[in-house]
């Protein structure tokens, strides 16, 4: 081979090997940059604005309603004795019956809790954005996709996962939630976005009326020619990336999701969906998330809860929702560990709210004459979070009121470390510059 030819070919190969990984929407050419700590991540946004004093600090009514009743409402998540008076956080008439505990050993005993972390924003959408993108950008507008790449796009681009490996389960279609499955970033975006369901709509009365009667086409005799014709039409039209209306699954993935939709209506009617014993609201969202986990066994699933946000005008409803969210979280972890063998012992579950709540109450009183709490002040940047699963130190509490450790933006990098592509996420330079993996914070 001539020298000139050799140099030309070598340069082409080098350029190709550098560029190719960034062209492929899935599948990676290089070994992961760090050894994965687990095969799957379930990331629970324990959201809606969780006040530190009423949750991890276990002050119940003492620090909110000026009434001497303290205790732990989150008995699946945290160690601590429950309140002994003014029980209104449970179920039944007046909320006087606490929901029975699901986990025999609390998440705190099984994993690591960061008891005093800092949120980026005291608002919902800014907070959700910081959790999903790991970015410190607080000026994110509503009704637009995040400016910076989401945890899903990092997973698909750097982890090489397909669309059905990444899921975002939202509890509604409000607050621009459906836009959080992908960013608008030119180097990432919808080609790397996650599948999204707001199951209360998709599988609620709207979805039932719109989707339940869908035909089940024969995969070879009907679906295959249909996909061939559609793919021909799409190739003729050649849609631009910026014009894509949503994420794209492959033909096989689309068939699987269609089967999932159809089967979910059948299993719903038969009462076979895995729902927490005390369901409704966030519990239903968690139940559908469990169903997605059971069927797809995704590498990354993010699920959002927000029932506790009723605290603006109903403190009693807030403490009940908080107790139910703990119940739903305990159910989900128990379901993963006991009912999904492919994920049991191979999954790390992370949890954190998107923001806290104010230090001082607002003037709105509920039926118990308890004041509501909004969010937006410095106290609403105080949150706690945690993780549990393989390679996570057990029975460890990190940080305290006097010594805050960790930021909510740490979770994106933590997930990257768990799934094995941390340095690539750091190298992209689009996350909060102060963010660290929570494993580094320990």
């Amino acid at each position: 081979m001539k020298r000139r030819e050799f140099v030309k070919k070598a340069a082409t190969l080098t350029a190709g090997s550098l560029v190719m990984p960034y062209l492929l929407p899935s599948g990676r050419l290089f070994a992961k940059t760090n050894a994965p700590l687990a095969e799957h991540v379930v990331y629970v946004i324990f959201g809606g604005g969780l006040r530190q004093q009423d949750s991890i600090l276990q002050r119940y009514l003492a620090d909110s309603q000026d009434f001497a009743a303290e205790g732990n409402l989150l008995h699946n998540m945290l160690e601590g004795t429950p309140p002994t008076s003014k029980i209104a956080y449970g179920i039944g008439e007046g909320g006087t019956q606490p929901i029975p505990k699901i986990l025999s050993k609390t998440i705190q005993k099984q994993g690591t809790i960061f008891s005093e972390m800092r949120a980026i924003s005291g608002g919902h959408y800014g907070g959700l954005n910081s959790l999903i993108t790991g970015s410190g950008v607080a000026g994110q507008g509503l009704k637009v996709r995040p400016i910076n790449p989401t945890v899903f796009e990092y997973a698909r681009r750097f982890g090489g996962f397909k669309a059905t490996d990444t899921w975002f389960i939202g509890n509604s279609i409000g607050n621009s939630l459906p836009l959080l499955n992908s960013s608008n970033h030119p180097d990432f975006g919808l080609p790397y976005g996650a599948n999204f369901f707001a199951p209360n709509i998709t599988f609620g009365s709207d979805g039932y009326a719109t989707l339940q009667n869908a035909k089940i086409y024969h995969p070879q005799e009907e679906l295959e020619p249909m996909y061939k014709m559609k793919n021909f039409l799409d190739n003729s039209f050649n849609i631009k990336k910026g014009d894509m209306p949503g994420i794209r699954n492959t033909d096989d993935e689309r068939t699987k999701i269609k089967e999932f939709i159809s089967n979910t209506f059948v299993r719903q009617a038969a009462g076979q969906l895995p729902m927490p014993p005390v369901g409704g609201g966030d519990g239903a969202t968690i139940g559908y998330a469990a169903e997605v986990l059971r069927v797809f066994k995704p590498k990354l699933l993010v699920v959002n809860m927000s029932g506790i946000d009723g605290c603006h005008s109903n403190f009693t409803g807030y403490i009940q929702a908080m107790h139910r969210a703990d119940h739903a979280l305990g159910f989900l972890w128990n379901y993963i560990e006991t009912q999904i063998p492919e994920m049991s012992g191979k999954t790390i579950m992370c949890f954190v709210p998107e923001c806290g709540r104010n230090k001082d109450h607002n003037p709105i009183m509920d039926a118990n004459d308890w004041y509501g709490y909004d969010h937006g002040d410095a106290n609403s940047l105080r949150v706690f979070g945690g993780m549990v699963g393989p390679n996570v130190p057990a029975n460890l509490m990190v940080g305290n009121e006097a010594n805050p450790i960790g930021k909510v933006t740490d979770f994106n990098l933590t997930i990257a470390e768990i799934l094995g592509y941390k340095s690539e996420v750091q190298g992209a330079g689009l996350i909060d510059s102060q963010a660290k993996s929570l494993f580094e914070r320990i």
Partner: protein
Amino acid sequence: MPIFKIAFFSLAVLFFVQCKKEKLITNYEVVETPSFGDNLNKDKDKTNIEFHGILTTNLFQKPSSINELTRTDRVIQSCGDKTLINEVIISNYMNTSFVKLPTRKFMLDSTEKFVTDTYIRFFIRRPTEAEKTWFINFINSSKANPNFRPELVYSSFSASDEYMFY
């Protein structure tokens, strides 16, 4: 006499540049313009409500109620893959008795007309020669499959990217 030469020359010039009597134009020519456009200018995406309003009118020959369209819009928003959820909704429409479709016989006997009509119906344009040829060949090669019917062709057009734009 130079003056006569100049006059003669001037007359000769005037003779060649003189005005002429206008011809009477009895019919005007028209520049031929295709009445069906192409897909190049479709760069605005339909909203969910526009999409399903047009689609249901196309399939049922009557518009849906605003309540149905709003409900459908919410369901589309609740799913990340819009193409996929549209396909499911379309198959839901196809499962009703009100949908109006050409017969399989028409599709197989008059394939070229069927293809052209389908392009005009869904894309408001005629197919290019390449598109027409591809579809005719595809339909002919699928004759042996008894499940291949106009419903599948209509579903593909309804779920295509081009149908989402105008």
